[in-house]
């Protein structure tokens, strides 16, 4: 009897074990795939953690562009239980109309709908606290420009997918972008995370340090804003450089653009005119003509030229800005009063071939190599393409197109003693200094010194920019007023006023170029651009520690 009972128990245990074994085999072998997937989706979550984009700072560490955590908010309409209430709760946080949210939350035949993009982290945290079933927060990174209006065209913008679209953001996209990380989160039965593991660590982008000085940049932008308010030009550009190493200390464009809302400005305003705008330089180009003539030894600063009231070159009649009778001017005086006829006479003395040589020698007709995207190279004819009247207008800055950055670079060579060096806007990447671009000598230091000395006269009494002088400082520069070409003809009403100068004239430490496109009410470089130069330099000299004479 006992043996029988024991036997029954034995059989029962064996049966139960067999059933358990069969069930385990079924779950482990037949339904293994689906169960593994279910476990993975219900308990293990794998998140892509976007890498923060490297920040962009000025030369003193002031943050110009930083990345902030943000979230895309999405919903599964199937899981939203009380859509009107959810819409009511989310509307003030997402700052969207309740009706819009309700439409999204009740969208039929879909299990995924975006409610908002790039919601700041603090507001996303508020949403998370609501603990609404069916809402998903997708981590993202958003780009923020703390000084919204500062250097916006230089900094550029970032588009969808954290890709740089323009400016430094585009040019140095590879360095600024990091590597996204992967995070595995294991949840318990009630959905609480019991394990968070960074499977692949997020690698942030590198910090890019610019040569820009934020304070000087602000000053340039304020001055241009003043020019814009007074003269209502189509646009204006100002560049401040250290002529000795090619560092761009500030680069401003007008109209200004809010870097946090580039779409809110017209497309032409987003363009960096300093590198992307071709214009005829006008009289600022005379310094190049004179530099070539001095270097070739065909003139000296004291060489006298007879200046008639007008000069006929082929089919063109050249006049000076101010009517005058026959007079005699030295080369220095020609620059001082910006005589068109005198510049032509110097150019003719140099000759077309050598003039063409010097134009290209100063870097015109080719990109400067500045580390900003969208650089134009200008339009410069070769000597073989000259017409009979070319030497009548080329030496005085007509007939060739240049960019503001080309002019600033060429004047830097005059300022630093004859070395043409590509300008640059990035000082270091990831804490590692970028090498200073190598320069090449284009004129001798003595020629450059002679030229600087002559350019002092422009700001002296009787010069075209005498009003731009600053008491106590030794300035040098050149004004420019150029007709704008409209449909193949020089306009008699549209001009480009410009001024390029540096301080101190003997050993320049700061070079400032100002270009104003089609100012209204005044047209001359000496009256439109030179005062802007004066304000910028007047602010900058004590700031940069440049001592007075």
């Amino acid at each position: 009897m006992v043996d029988r009972r024991i036997g029954i128990l034995f059989v029962a245990f064996v049966s139960l074990l067999s059933i358990a074994l069969l069930r385990a085999t079924y779950l482990g072998a037949v339904r293994a795939g689906s169960l593994r997937h279910a476990a993975a989706t219900q308990q293990v979550t794998s998140l892509t953690i976007p890498a923060p984009r490297g920040s962009i700072t000025d030369r003193n560490g002031v943050e110009l562009a930083i990345s902030q955590a943000a979230d895309d908010v999405a919903a599964d309409p199937h899981l939203i239980k009380n859509a009107p209430q959810v819409a009511q709760q989310l509307a003030p946080i997402l700052r969207k109309p309740e009706s819009t949210l309700l439409t999204s939350l009740t969208k039929p035949r879909t299990g995924f709908v975006y409610l908002a993009h790039l919601v700041p982290a603090d507001r996303a945290a508020e949403i998370s606290k609501l603990q609404i079933d069916g809402l998903t927060m997708i981590p993202q990174v958003t780009r923020v420009y703390p000084r919204s209006w500062a250097a916006s065209q230089v900094l550029g913008s970032v588009g969808w997918g954290d890709r740089g679209l323009s400016g430094v953001e585009y040019r140095y996209d590879a360095a600024l972008r990091g590597r996204d990380g992967t995070r595995k989160i294991v949840n318990d039965a009630i959905g609480q995370a019991i394990s968070i593991d960074d499977v692949r660590a997020t690698q942030p982008g590198k910090r890019v340090e610019l040569t820009i000085d934020a304070a000087l940049q602000d000053e340039l932008e304020q001055v241009l804003a003043g020019v814009g308010a007074q003269y209502s030009p189509r646009g204006a550009t100002a560049i401040a450089m250290d002529p000795n190493n090619g560092e761009i200390l500030a680069l401003a464009n007008w109209p200004r653009v809010n870097a946090n809302d580039p779409a809110g400005a017209p497309s032409y305003a987003n363009e960096d005119r300093a590198v992307g705008f071709n214009y005829e330089p006008g009289s600022t180009f005379k310094a190049i003509t004179v530099a070539g003539a001095l270097q070739d030894g065909v003139v000296t600063p004291d060489t006298q030229f007879g200046i008639p009231s007008q000069l006929q070159v082929a089919d063109r009649t050249i006049h000076d800005a101010e009517p005058h009778g026959d007079e005699t001017l030295s080369v220095a005086q020609i620059l001082k009063v910006s005589s068109n006829i005198g510049a032509d006479e110097i150019g003719m003395k140099v000759g077309p071939q050598r003039f063409d040589h010097w134009v290209h020698r100063f870097g015109f007709g080719a990109p400067t190599g500045v580390d900003l995207p969208g650089e134009e190279q200008g339009i410069v004819l070769h000597a073989s393409q000259y017409s009979g009247s070319s030497m009548g207008n080329l030496p005085l800055g007509q007939g060739e197109s240049v960019t503001p950055i080309q002019m600033a670079t060429a004047y830097s060579a005059i300022a630093n003693g004859g070395i043409l060096r590509p300008p640059h806007v990035v000082k270091a990447i990831g804490g590692k200094p970028t090498p200073i671009p190598e320069g090449r000598r284009i004129i001798s230091s003595s020629t450059a010194a002679e030229l600087r000395d002559m350019l002092r006269g422009v700001l002296a009494d009787g010069g075209t920019a005498s009003g731009a002088a600053i008491q106590g400082y030794d300035l040098a520069g050149k004004t420019g007023t150029a007709n704008v070409v409209v449909q193949g003809q020089y306009s008699s009403s549209a001009y480009i006023a410009s001024f390029i100068g540096f301080v101190p004239a003997s050993h320049p430490r700061l070079l400032v170029a100002v270009m104003v496109d089609e100012p209204q009410g005044a047209i001359f470089g000496g009256s439109v651009a030179a005062p802007a130069f004066q304000k910028i330099v007047g602010w900058a000299v004590p700031y940069l520690g440049i001592s007075p004479n």
Binding site: I66, I196, D197, G538, P548
Partner: protein, 298 residues
């Protein structure tokens, strides 16, 4: 399952059966004695045993020294089951609580690992949150340090930048200017500065101070030394800096225009036209000898 033969009843049956079989065998067959053959070796002779030569045993060290270490290890392992100490250890009861404690330890370790995992997860989340907060603070710092914002606040307090043409330089050798320059140097008013801090630099709270400073500007430009003290006495917001800036501008309407927070489209920098108007007042100021040393402000 216990076999039936091993139960007590079975054992009794088995013994009984064995006895019966023996009896049956003895009764069936007569007893046969088995005679052993004589041993081939000679029998032992009585007397004392001859002394055997002692067995030549090899020294243990020498034996083990000849063995390879692996062989020695193998020999040790082979002999391990026969070790008395091991036997005592394995058969001891200490193992029961020891194993229990170890099992409990394993479970506790697993729990701790889970806790640690959760803690690491929380730390990562906290790190992410702090990083996010840090980025927000960096944004705030950069925004607050904006020069244009600070200039806007300063303009609200009546301070404006002197135009480039408004700055003059005096020669050190000009002895007549030295006493005036020295007289123009004032100790900073800490109370005035602290009163500014109490309003946290808010422009709205300083509107009255700004207005007062603006009203006093023309007086300042005429007598550079006196107004600074007068202003300092009249309003805490007025300092020597305000005095010099006002003197440089020299235009009440311009100073009033700069009051308030500036937006990017409304720069507080005087427009070129206003600068032109301001210049004569500013350029006339150096004559009053307000410079300090070589680089004074009129």
């Amino acid at each position: 399952m216990t076999p039936a033969a091993m139960t007590p009843a079975g054992r009794v049956k088995r013994n009984t059966a064995a006895a019966t079989t023996t009896k049956q065998r003895s009764s069936a067959h007569p007893l046969r004695l088995r005679v052993r053959p004589a041993p081939k070796s000679p029998r032992r002779v009585s007397g004392p045993l001859p002394r055997r030569a002692p067995a030549r045993s090899r020294p243990a060290s020498r034996l083990s020294g000849r063995m390879h270490p692996v062989q020695r290890a193998a020999a040790f392992v082979r002999g391990l089951p026969d070790q008395a100490l091991l036997d005592r250890l394995v058969r001891g009861r200490v193992w029961i609580p020891l194993l229990g404690v170890m099992l409990a330890g394993i479970v506790a370790m697993q729990v701790e690992v889970l806790k640690l995992g959760a803690s690491i997860g929380r730390s990562i989340e906290r790190g992410t949150a702090l990083q996010s907060r840090n980025e927000q603070l960096r944004d705030t710092v950069a925004s607050l340090a904006d020069d244009q914002r600070i200039e806007g606040l300063a303009a609200g307090m009546g301070m404006v930048m002197a135009p480039p043409t408004g700055v003059g330089f005096l020669s050190r050798s000009a002895g007549a200017n030295t006493p005036q320059a020295i007289a123009n140097i004032h100790a900073p008013n800490s109370q005035a500065f602290l009163s500014l801090l109490s309003s946290n630099g808010a422009v709205t709270g300083l509107a009255s101070a700004s207005t007062t400073a603006t009203a006093g500007a023309p007086t300042i430009s005429s007598t550079p030394a006196a107004p600074s003290s007068a202003l300092a006495a009249s309003t805490p917001a007025s300092t020597t800096t305000i005095n010099t800036a006002q003197a440089a501008v020299g235009s009440p309407s311009q100073a009033t225009a700069t009051t308030g927070t500036r937006t990017p489209s409304q720069p507080s920098t005087p427009t070129p036209a206003s600068t032109t108007h301001a210049a004569p007042a500013a350029t006339s100021a150096p004559a009053a000898g307000a410079g300090t040393g070589g680089a004074g402000v009129p």
